[in-house]
Subunit: 226 residues, 2 copies
């Protein structure tokens, strides 16, 4: 059984990459840079976006919101006037644990691409599968909160390797949790040497300027109109 | 592509259930009650077990530790003299995001079942897929930490429905986070009416007695030797 399963997933990945390339070409054509934002459930992706996106200088952001069920996160982003499209994965089989390129493709007609410079795809909260599936993004960033523990890079190495930036969130809680930041960074360096990180509290606003700087830089990096 | 994928997963679930029944029969034969413990990454499953299992009256506990990679959690349990078997899911395809019945079956020969009354299977940290795959357990419990936010029952309804008890962990952080406990419980009741919950801080020890009482009751509930 196990062997069959792996084989099927590999086939699915081939198809996924083909569709991801098509998505990427469409995004490039519209001059939109795309960020795939990943984390465990409750790491604070949505709060980060709600706080950081409205203040982006010269960049028109939008969000594609991936959730198993519900539209809570999309509602929070709409409240701060960020264009947002909801993508639920619960059709069919009790909830997909990640976004794949085909799901993102199905949302393309609903996205106001002509009005955007930066599209953030907020993936389903999960530290395993989203790292496997490219969706047509220019960059992948993950959010890891200090409440999750300093061992996470060792336990979910592929996720920490798949991203170009790690945002360490909820640093306002550092004094209240048993989280050894030095040890976390040591483990992170072990699984993904040289990857940069930002220390952030989306709740208090600490470190948000650096996140905005990163996003503005990202938006100018690629996705120039053809 | 999507339709094919769903079909394959359904086939895999049929096979999984067959193997889960075989596991269950083996556990019953040995008089071992089995708990499938699930949560998001970093919710505190291992800390909970490290704190609760050594104090179980009249119950000999053991742990089957599921992780994508590494043996950090198994080491922590071994440190407090709990028999523990490590099961890594990273063979093959970059890390399975859940334990399935066949993985658990492969670990059976390594488990000292004759010396156990209660086996806790600590699943991979993930709020989606583990809820789909029975592994031969008598009961399923999930841990949800207050740092994850009160919206989680609405966003991962299947997981909150799949368990018979929800342990709300890290309540020592309640005063430092924006978590509305009333709202969480309202959402929980909405997706799984009547499911009981326990308020716990594995870190400070608050509420651990109730967890131990539950585990002792669980161990006497089933798994009587044939």
């Amino acid at each position: 059984m196990h062997r069959v399963k792996v084989r099927v997933v590999e086939d699915a990945l081939d198809a996924n990459n083909t569709i991801a390339s098509a998505n990427r070409a469409d995004f490039d054509r519209e001059g939109v840079t795309v960020l795939n934002l990943m984390s465990a459930p409750g790491a604070g992706k949505t709060t980060l976006l709600v706080k950081a996106l409205p203040g982006l200088e010269g960049v028109r952001p939008g969000v594609l919101e991936g959730d198993v069920a519900g539209s809570l996160d999309a509602d929070r982003l709409a409240d701060v006037h960020i264009p947002v499209t909801q993508l639920n994965t619960d059709q069919g089989f009790g909830g997909e644990c990640h976004l794949d390129a085909n799901m993102v493709r199905s949302a393309l007609p609903s996205l106001p691409l002509a009005d955007l410079d930066l599209l953030v795809i907020e993936n389903v909260g999960n530290l395993v599968c989203p790292a496997e599936f490219r969706v047509g993004e220019d960059a992948r960033v993950m959010v890891s909160s200090v409440t999750e523990g300093e061992d996470k890079p060792l336990k979910y190495p592929l996720m920490f390797r798949a991203c170009e930036l790690v945002i360490i969130n909820k640093i306002d809680l550092l004094e209240h949790v048993d989280f050894d930041l030095e040890k976390f960074l040591y483990h992170l360096e072990g699984v993904h040497p040289g990857v940069p990180h930002l220390l952030v509290s989306a709740r208090t606003g600490e470190g948000l300027e650096a996140v905005r700087d990163y996003l503005v830089g990202l938006a100018s990096r690629a996705g120039a109109p053809a």
